[in-house]
Subunit: 215 residues, 2 copies
């Protein structure tokens, strides 16, 4: 009747589906089991515990992003492409993004993007120290950007809710926030992201590549 024979992959898929439909808080073993039309404890035949299941979710989402890396392209284009591939996560699985970002993945799914990024940077002439530094810089920026995009972190409007209802929270205490509130309210995530990536690429390209740390 239920056709498919229940598997880790099906469980993870159901979890992702549930998260995207109702948010991460809606995820419970009972709920997932119900979603699959299955007893709660049956899940534990395929997944050791909830934590591992969530790791599976993060891994699956991360594996889904498509890196179309062209080794012959200029390194700046390759970096751009890799950064954009990451942003796809926020687009394809907004409510799972927090999970992907906050779980340490030591599997190949987690290591592959790192490997690619390092290879790209090395091929651009960065030595190990500078390649790792640049990688960390990009990751920090990307993580922060994605969290803003999916609404974990604020865009810094003086309260979106209040704006709609017309309440002005500002007063004379926050003149700048008040004056720029129309700019703070809107946020073109793609434009912001592209701006940041460009800024970082340019800044890093200019940097001396083999000298010791600047600080």
């Amino acid at each position: 009747m239920t056709s498919e024979p229940l598997s880790r992959a099906r469980i993870v898929a159901a979890a992702i589906d549930l998260i995207e439909r109702e948010g991460a808080d809606a995820v419970s073993m009972r709920r997932i089991a119900a979603e699959l039309g299955v007893g709660v404890m049956s899940l534990y035949n395929h997944v050791p515990n909830k934590d591992a299941l969530l790791n599976g979710v993060a891994e699956a989402v991360l594996s889904e992003i498509e890196f179309t890396d062209d080794p012959d392209a200029h390194w700046t284009d390759r970096v751009r492409m890799q950064a954009r591939a990451f942003r796809q996560i926020a687009h394809d699985h907004p409510r799972s993004t927090m999970l992907v970002v906050s779980r340490q993945l030591h599997s190949s799914a987690g290591l592959l993007p790192v490997e690619r990024a390092l290879a790209t940077l090395r091929s651009a002439g960065f030595d190990g120290v500078h390649a790792v530094r640049a990688l960390r810089m990009f990751i920090a920026f990307i993580v922060g950007s994605l969290l803003r995009e999916v609404g974990v972190t604020p865009t810094f409007a003086p309260d979106h809710q209040h704006m709609v209802t017309g309440v002005e929270v500002d007063a004379t205490l926050f003149p700048e926030v008040s004056a720029l509130s129309s700019l703070l309210n809107r946020c073109d995530h793609e434009a912001e992201f592209e701006f940041g990536v460009e800024l970082l690429i340019q800044a890093i390209a200019v940097h001396p590549k083999r000298r010791e740390g600047t600080r």
Copy 2:
């Protein structure tokens, strides 16, 4: 006997203490009540629900950081100072950092740093659009950096646990990760942060300040 008369502030303080001692997962209304030597439901006389309590925690931690802003200093120094002030959160309250970063605070505690940053950037000659852009860039970087520092996000070792036990996860699949594993394993958070801040300041200082977006 128990002296102090129980208040929102005392509850929030107990929550922060508990989080820093045992992690965010250890926080429960029952646990906090026990910590204060008080009945569980007594908490609800001072806090509407757990969510609001966690907002209170985020707000309290955020309010604790000290901005020593010198309006006469060069704007680059002011930006540096403000960025470092944020990093203090990760230092003073590592296990609460995720909470601070992930909760939308529409109170003055949340708006004050934004106001300061915008004022600084405006005084440096940035127009509204560029000031907001720069602010968002910095916030994304800082959020990403703090999450790495407190261990939410990985530093990208090929598994710290495995390194200790001597298991080499690499193989020929991840040559770069493998070759740079000693660099990836270590992470001087302060140095990385300072490097990033410097890079961003320099990149932004060079940028045209009144032209439209570059993209």
